[in-house]
């Protein structure tokens, strides 16, 4: 399996805060990699560097190399807007566009490219909603407002919206932490299925969730990458003492 995303000595500063230190690691293609670690260790910060969401924060500074398909996304002349189409993102709280219908939400990103013929749009909506296992639940009310869906459905809609623009990598920042347990399980199942087509990187501070959904796990601690490897290994026989302590609940 080749590496889809590759980090080389990535450092991220916010003003004087050094939030991520010298992180080098790879994310294999068509697999789920979980990033775990205590609150404030830099998980979200690291994740957001991978589709240049930090460009919006004036104080943020990213150094080192972040390669997607061997191309440096922070390279000169690289347009963040086009990077974000290749590297999609799903957020903690479901955030469908409230003024739009379910249908419009799915094609919201796709439409930015210009007018979209009716049939093509229909096709995209159907295939994306099917892929997130939402089609059967909403096919009779595609034109109703997206906010009429439940939290879990909204999150799946957001995932549909993200895959509609045909990304290669999907970043997820605690995608289920605002959901009830059953919706959480549904999202986890979905992640399992999506990994056949996309490279998925997920931040979660629920260790059990990381254990359940991911193929690889990276453990961050105070901005450092402590250990990174197969999830099975990390959760049964980690190599680093700090990983072991964190995973077994020995902190403080």
């Amino acid at each position: 399996m080749s590496n889809k995303v590759h980090l080389e000595e990535v450092n991220i500063h916010f003003g004087k805060t050094h939030a991520v230190r010298d992180v080098s690691m790879s994310f294999p293609e068509n697999s789920v990699t979980a990033i775990i670690g205590p609150s404030g260790c830099g998980k979200s910060t690291l994740l957001r560097s991978m589709n240049r969401m930090h460009d919006l924060v004036p104080s943020a500074r990213v150094t080192g190399k972040i390669l997607v398909d061997n191309g440096d996304i922070y390279g000169r002349g690289v347009d963040p807007v086009s990077i974000r189409r290749r590297v999609g993102m799903v957020f903690q709280k479901p955030n469908p566009f409230p003024a739009m219908s379910i249908y419009d939400n799915v094609v919201a990103g796709y439409k930015l490219n210009g007018r979209l013929p009716r049939e093509e749009a229909n096709e995209i909506v159907e295939s994306c909603l099917k892929r997130v296992a939402l089609w059967d639940e909403v096919k009779d009310r595609l034109k109703t407002n997206a906010m009429t869906l439940s939290g879990g459905q909204q999150q799946r809609l957001c995932i549909a919206r993200t895959i509609a623009v045909k990304p290669e990598v999907i970043l997820m920042d605690e995608p289920a932490s605002a959901l009830d347990p059953i919706s959480t399980l549904k999202i986890e199942e979905l992640i399992e299925e999506l990994k056949t087509r996309y490279t998925i990187i997920i931040v979660t501070h629920n260790m059990q969730q990381a254990a359940r959904v991911s193929d690889y796990t990276a453990f961050l601690y105070m901005g450092d990458l402590v250990e990174c490897g197969e999830t099975k290994k990390i959760f049964t026989t980690p190599e680093q003492k700090r990983t072991e302590d964190y995973i077994t609940g020995r902190f403080g």
Partner: protein
């Protein structure tokens, strides 16, 4: 028969363990059969094969252990699933020991084949068949969650024990009568003990199946 897990992946993993256990059970049965065949038909080559085969059983034990550990670490199973996994962990040890006993039988068979035959084996194959059936049924009970079958296995142990005692008495008579048979008789005696232990292990499995299904620990109560 049973509802599926919400997570298909979890179901797959549990099924995988179940299948690997069955596979191991199947291999163990073959091993019992082969060990006995090598003895009865004085087939030293088959005995060698059987001894070598133990290696595979050992490997399967490690694979299943690892899988169980992985499921425990990644899925946090509870209730029936948890009992299933912990008992898989224990059953696999029993199966591995059964494999060891088969290897022991094969070793004795290898030795016995060097010497002239003492007497035709009549009770021993019957005992082996009974023990083998018990292993099979215990595993079936485990996989199907069938506690009735498991109880039957526990009861069958009695029969094997009786056969064992009978064989021992018989061998003692042989030895007393003809000291030259002592060495061979001791070896046959050992085979009989091995078969008895195999039946014991099957009984262990069956007891644990009852625990898994009923949630009641009946070990050390009947015995």
């Amino acid at each position: 028969m049973e509802r599926e897990h919400f997570s298909k992946q979890f179901d797959t993993e549990l099924n995988d363990i179940r299948e690997k256990l069955l596979e191991m059970g199947g291999k163990v049965e073959v091993m019992i059969a082969n060990a006995m065949k090598s003895l009865v038909e004085r087939d030293t080559e088959l005995a060698e094969k059987t001894i070598a085969f133990d290696h595979e059983i050992n490997n399967l034990e490690m694979v299943i252990d690892e899988k169980c550990l992985e499921v425990l670490a990644r899925r946090q199973p509870a209730a029936r699933d948890l009992r299933f996994i912990t008992l898989a962990l224990k059953i696999v040890t029993d199966l591995e020991r059964i494999g060891d006993q088969c290897a022991n039988i094969a070793k004795r068979s290898r030795e016995l084949n060097q010497e002239p035959s003492l007497k035709p084996y009549i009770d021993l194959p019957r005992m082996a068949q009974a023990a083998s059936d018990m292993v099979k049924e215990a595993l079936d009970a485990f996989v199907r969650g069938d506690d009735a079958l498991a109880i039957k296995v526990c009861e069958d142990d009695q029969f094997v024990d009786e056969l064992n005692e009978q064989i021992q008495r018989e061998l003692l008579t042989f030895m007393m009568g003809d000291p030259s048979t002592i060495s061979r008789a001791i070896k046959i005696n050992h085979v009989s003990k091995c078969l008895e232990r195999i039946a014991d292990h099957a009984t262990n499995v069956a007891e644990m199946v009852i625990f898994m299904v009923k949630g009641k620990d009946i070990r050390h109560t009947i015995a």
